[in-house]
Structure formats: C-alpha cells, structure tokens
C-alpha cells in the first residue's frame, strides 16, 4: 500500500472517491469476465485435446500409406498423379465474438468438383486411394482443430491479460486509493479541529481583554 502523492484538499478527495468507485466496479466486472472466459476456455481446451489426440493417431497413418504408395509406384508417378488436384475445398472464414475477443470461425464450402481422385486408377496402386480417402476424412477434423486451437490460444492470452488487470486493481489500485482517501480525510479533519481550537483560543483572548 502506497499513498498517492496528492494535495489533501476536498476537491482531490471527491475525485479520488470517484476513482475508487470506478476501480471497484471495474474490478468486479473484470473478475466476472475472467471467470466466464475461463469457463468457456475449459470447454474449448477439452475439445481441442480430444481432436488433437485423434489427429495424432490418424494423420501419421494416412501419411504413411501415402509414402508407401510412392514407394510402390515410384515417386515421379505419384507426384504426377496428384499434381493437378481435382478436389478443391474452399472455406468461409469469418470471425466470431467470444467475450469481446475476435476468434476465427470457419465453415467448409465444398468446391465445385467433388471427384476425389485426380488420377486414373490404372496408373497407381490402391494404397494411394486409401491414403487420399482417409486424408479427406481427416481434413474436416483438421479444419475444426485449427479453429478451436486458435480460439484456445486467443482465450488463454486474454485470460492472462485480464487476470493481470484484476490483480493490479485488487492489490495495487484499490488499496492505494483507500489509503489516500483515508489520509486526506484525516488531514481535513485535523485542519478542522485546528481551526476550531484556534477560534476558541481567539475567543478566550478577546474575552480576557474585554474584561
């Protein structure tokens, strides 16, 4: 607790009292905001964890079967087979607002051409088909995970920030203001008492003289 360096005047007191009121209100609001953000964050991070562990199981497998295909057929053949993809995917990426944080939200818009295999079946082996089928299944999950992981990142940052603010208000700002207000009130009271005593003294001197 540290007293703010201000003049002990009535005007300053009024100003500080207003500031204290604002600080307390702000503290309450921010604390509520942090609590709610943490609650949402928990929901997202659990989903994030689930999706990521699924992905970590599935993706290496389909990538591996692709590598296998390129080993069986030769690299250049496979490279040529996938060189011009027929399947296209477009996203509709917008932002949504969670607790006044802009987080991404992605919708998947299927491309015009939904033919999955860009190559003729005669030229390559079946491993490539498996790989591509499973990958296209994973892609949706991948996009969902991207959205959720980013949301988690941003929420975590925001929580950290607002927690700092809450703590600054609670442990620095509010105690300082209370302390200063107390100091000014004491000082003003003291002045008033001094004044009263002075008046009494003056009165008694005048009385003494008149007698």
């Amino acid at each position: 607790m540290k007293r703010i360096n201000v003049n002990p005047t009535r005007m300053e007191l009024r100003r500080l009292k207003n500031r204290l009121k604002t600080a307390i209100r702000g503290h309450k609001l921010l604390k509520d905001k942090t609590d709610e953000t943490v609650r949402r964050f928990m929901i997202y991070i659990k989903e994030n964890h689930r999706l990521r562990s699924e992905l970590e199981n599935e993706l290496p497998q389909s990538l591996k079967s692709f590598l296998l295909a390129s080993a069986v057929n030769g690299r250049s053949v496979v490279e040529e087979a996938v060189a011009i993809p027929s399947y296209s995917i477009t996203l509709k990426s917008v932002t949504q607002n969670i607790m006044s944080i802009n987080v991404p939200q992605i919708e998947i818009v299927k491309g015009t051409n939904t033919d999955l295999y860009p190559y003729s079946f005669a030229s390559v082996s079946a491993e490539l088909d498996f790989s591509i089928i499973s990958l296209s299944g994973i892609l949706n999950k991948l996009i969902k995970l991207a959205e959720i992981e980013k949301t988690c990142n941003m929420l975590a940052d925001e929580i950290e920030k607002s927690r700092r603010r809450v703590n600054a208000l609670e442990y620095v700002m509010i105690p300082d203001l209370t302390e200063t207000i107390k100091y000014i009130t004491m000082k003003l009271d003291e002045n008033e008492r001094a004044n009263t005593i002075r008046l009494m003294k003056v009165k008694s001197i005048i009385n003494d003289k008149s007698i």
Binding site: S53, I143, L155
Partner: protein, 124 residues
C-alpha cells in the same frame, strides 16, 4: 484478408499427400526456407499447416501471428508420428489460463507413477 484456402509447409515427400485434397503444398528444406515461406503465406492463407519438426524450429515466427484471428497456424504430426510439440502447445495454453497445467498433466503423472512403482515393489 484471408483467401479462404489452406496451405501446408513441410518436407515435400511427407506432405505431398495433401495436394490431392486441394491443399497447397509448399516445400521447406530448412529453417530459413520455412520462415520465409510462412511470412509470405501468412498474408493470404487462412489456415497454414506446418509439420511439427519444422514448427518447433520457427516458434518465434509463429508466435507473431498468435494474437490475431487469421492466419491460423496449426502444427501437424508427420508420417513418423507426433513428437509431442502440438500437445505441448495445449499445456502452455492451459498454464497461461489457469496458472498450472491441471488438465493434461498426463505425462508428468505417468512419469511420477513409473518412478513410484519400483519403490512399491521393493517394499512388498
């Protein structure tokens, strides 16, 4: 603004499979390549996938894009499986938000259990 497309950065052989499903593939042989490619792609792609081994080396560049909604940079496991970098990111988030990783302290707990177990055997 994002162009609603997906890109993947990684070792070419490892990520070529993504090309078949309409993802743009960018080869990165080393750390400098990856960094330059990422900087270029960040301007217009909405999702950028980076393989974990590369993502680990350019963390500082990735961190730069953390506080805006797009681009989304996501680390993905390679064909050799995951090296745990992705999950580590989750733990960091949880630590940031809650103060300590109480949700997925799974690895640590397992290690702890492993350490404790031999002791129990000795006792019995």
């Amino acid at each position: 603004m994002p162009n609603d497309k997906i890109a993947v950065i990684g070792d070419k052989d490892g990520v070529l499979a993504f090309k078949a499903i309409g993802v743009d593939v960018f080869d990165a042989k080393n750390y400098f390549d990856a960094r330059e490619t990422l900087k270029k792609l960040a301007r217009d792609y909405s999702i950028i996938l980076i393989t974990e081994d590369i993502a680990e080396t350019i963390q500082d560049t990735i961190a730069r894009y953390k506080n805006r909604p797009y681009p989304i940079i996501l680390s993905i496991p390679t064909s050799n499986g995951s090296n745990g970098f992705g999950m580590q990111g989750l733990s960091i988030d949880v630590e940031k938000a809650i103060g300590s990783d109480i949700l997925f302290g799974g690895n640590n707990q397992n290690n702890r259990n492993k350490k404790i177990k031999p002791k129990d055997n000795n006792n019995t």
